[in-house]
């Protein structure tokens, strides 16, 4: 057996084991390959869209409606406006509802009650339900209350239902990250629970809530299936002017254009993808700005 003296005088050179062993290098390489594959796919998508779509990234794209007969000068105007309407409505419906539900579950609900536990379990499942199911749900709802399906209101409801579980879950996580001591400190001063939530828990949770909410909205932004099911029209030649207006959105428009035989439509689709990606980037940038801003407060 080696004595302490022998161990101490041994050189620190790497031998067969440790960071430079074959196994750890192979593992590292595998990790890098996985990352490279993901990045490569993304870059390919970006580059091909850009190459295909860049010459159609002109003012017509933003100012003209889609045209069956003259695709070379058609644009995504209706889809851009439709997207703004539908996502705006989704945000208005889902954000207050989601935050309120999360505040109830995290700050007020008694977890020992069976109905709260039931909500708890279902929430996790709802977040995993495929988007199209929410489209069907909304279609059924519209039928029951006698609403037209292919309107902004129906689209907003479907997308709001889709992202509601995600908003609730991320908001709860953000609230849970606020230390219990902060709440106790507030309550021990004689603040009510409502005041404590309003003045301590929620403000501290803003960065998490904002990030989660905007990422959820980005998901809604890219969603086509539930809207197609609801019957979002494709060759819309007007801007939506209210909740009861017919509409199309960017993903729906892209889906349609990409399926057309003419090469002009495929170029249009590529250009629209660039615009959609731009919108997504913008939203994520907003999320990051909000997060940093509120974290920098201290």
């Amino acid at each position: 057996m080696a004595t302490i003296g022998q161990i101490a005088t041994r050189p620190l050179r790497a031998e067969r084991h440790g960071e430079r062993s074959f196994a750890s290098i192979a593992f590292l390489v595998a990790l890098w390959l996985a990352l490279a594959f993901a990045v490569l796919c993304l870059v390919t998508l970006l580059v091909t869209s850009f190459v295909d779509g860049v010459q159609r990234l002109d003012s017509n794209l933003f100012t003209q409606y889609s045209s069956q007969v003259r695709p070379e000068t058609g644009g995504a105007r209706a889809a851009i406006w439709g997207t703004l309407w539908v996502i705006g409505l989704t945000a208005v419906l889902a954000i207050p509802l989601g935050i309120a539900a999360a505040v109830y579950l995290e700050e007020f609900a008694d977890p020992t009650r069976w109905y709260n536990r039931l909500v708890e379990v279902n929430l996790q499942n709802l977040a995993a339900v495929p988007a199209i199911v929410y489209g069907m749900l909304t279609a059924g709802l519209a039928l029951t209350i006698g609403l037209r399906r292919g309107v902004v209101l129906a689209g907003g409801i479907a997308l709001a239902l889709l992202i509601l579980p995600v908003i609730i879950i991320t908001t709860r996580e953000a609230l849970r990250a606020v230390p219990a001591e902060i709440r106790q400190g507030s309550l021990a001063l004689g603040a009510t629970r409502l005041k404590t939530v309003w003045k301590q828990s929620l403000p501290s949770a803003v960065p998490g809530v904002a990030t989660g909410t905007i990422l959820a909205l980005s998901r809604a932004l890219g969603e086509a299936a539930p809207l197609l099911l609801l019957g979002a029209v494709v060759f819309v030649r007007f801007d939506p002017d209210g909740l009861m207006s017919g509409f199309t959105t960017m993903p729906v428009q892209i889906f349609n254009w990409a399926g057309q035989p003419q090469v002009e439509f495929r170029e249009l689709a590529a250009a629209a993808i660039i615009v959609l990606l731009g919108m997504l980037l913008l939203m994520n940038a907003v999320a990051i700005v909000i997060r940093n801003r509120y974290q920098r407060r201290w």
Partner: protein, 304 residues
């Protein structure tokens, strides 16, 4: 150290189990109710809070059994005892902070100025406004020093003529003003642990409670910060009634007028450890001439 030695030296500030790392070197003179009669204490305190036959449960588990004691006006009452004997549990019940733990329940009577604190028409918010609490770990809000103090008066809708004056008063009351007066707008997180704890005390006194509960307020602090808080408690006693839980027996002996010793005893059959009050008396009495053998064993370090 034996208990005989303890009884022979009741006026030292290391009355029991002394000689350890926490023993005071005697450099700081301190006015404590001891043999020199520097502070007159009646045999019966003027009760602010009273416990009568209090049992406290967490769900089906009885954590504390049959506690009866009074907390006297403008006195410092210490609660000591081994870990898990229910000191924090009792303390939290004194301002209904225990309500926040799902399943927690109180039986028996706890009264504040003669009113049943757990009566059906009592608003726990009102209770906590009169009976403030300082926690083991300093827990300033993620706000400026100023806003930490102003928070309580604002959310409780206190009528305040000048918030600036109130903030200054509270910070002076907690002996923190001179250290922070030039950085009131800075984050409270920039303060040291000891300063943060005094900020928490300032925050508590800003809403003008009558009683301040403290759960091991110095256990996260170094000896110098601890000494400052102990000095502060001496000052605060003039205006407030203070109830402190501490693991540090020297601290109890130094600051407290009266001391309650708790212990936890395993119930026959179930083996559940239920906390109970062993002895409650003047601090001098507890540390010099305890009536109960278990108290004597504990304070002389022969516990367990």
């Amino acid at each position: 150290m034996t208990s005989t030695e303890t009884t022979t030296a009741p006026t030292t500030r290391t009355p029991a189990g002394g000689g350890g790392a926490l023993a005071d070197n005697g450099a700081r003179p301190r006015v404590v109710a001891q043999d020199d009669n520097s502070r007159y204490l009646p045999d019966m305190p003027i009760p602010v809070i009273e416990c009568e036959g209090v049992d406290i449960y967490y769900g089906g588990f009885r954590a504390v059994h049959d506690v009866s004691m009074v907390y006297g006006q403008n006195e410092i009452t210490a609660m000591i005892g081994p870990s898990g004997c229910g000191k924090s549990t009792v303390l939290r019940c004194l301002n209904r902070m225990n309500d926040l733990i799902p399943g927690a329940r109180v039986a028996g009577r706890i009264s504040y100025r003669g009113q049943d604190m757990y009566g059906s028409d009592v608003d726990p918010i009102e209770v906590r406004r009169r009976i403030g609490m300082v926690f083991q770990k300093p827990n300033p809000f993620p706000k400026s020093i100023y806003d930490n103090i102003a928070y309580g008066p604002r959310v409780t809708g206190m009528k305040v003529e000048s918030m600036d004056d109130l903030v200054e008063q509270a910070l002076r009351g907690a002996a923190l003003w001179d250290e922070v007066k030039d950085k009131l707008k800075q984050s409270a997180y920039g303060l040291s642990g000891g300063q943060q704890q005094r900020l928490c005390i300032a925050r508590t006194i800003a809403v003008r409670p009558e009683v301040i509960l403290m759960d091991e307020p110095c256990s996260a602090l170094d000896p110098i910060a601890t000494a400052r808080i102990e000095d502060l408690m001496e000052d605060l006693r003039k205006d407030f009634t203070i109830i402190i839980v501490t693991h540090n027996m020297q601290q109890a002996a130094r600051v407290a007028d009266r001391t309650a010793f708790f212990t936890a005893q395993a119930a026959e059959g179930t083996g559940d450890r239920t906390g109970q009050l062993v002895e409650f008396d003047l601090t001098t009495k507890i540390f010099s001439n305890p009536a109960d053998k278990r108290t004597e064993d504990y304070i002389s370090g022969r516990f367990g």
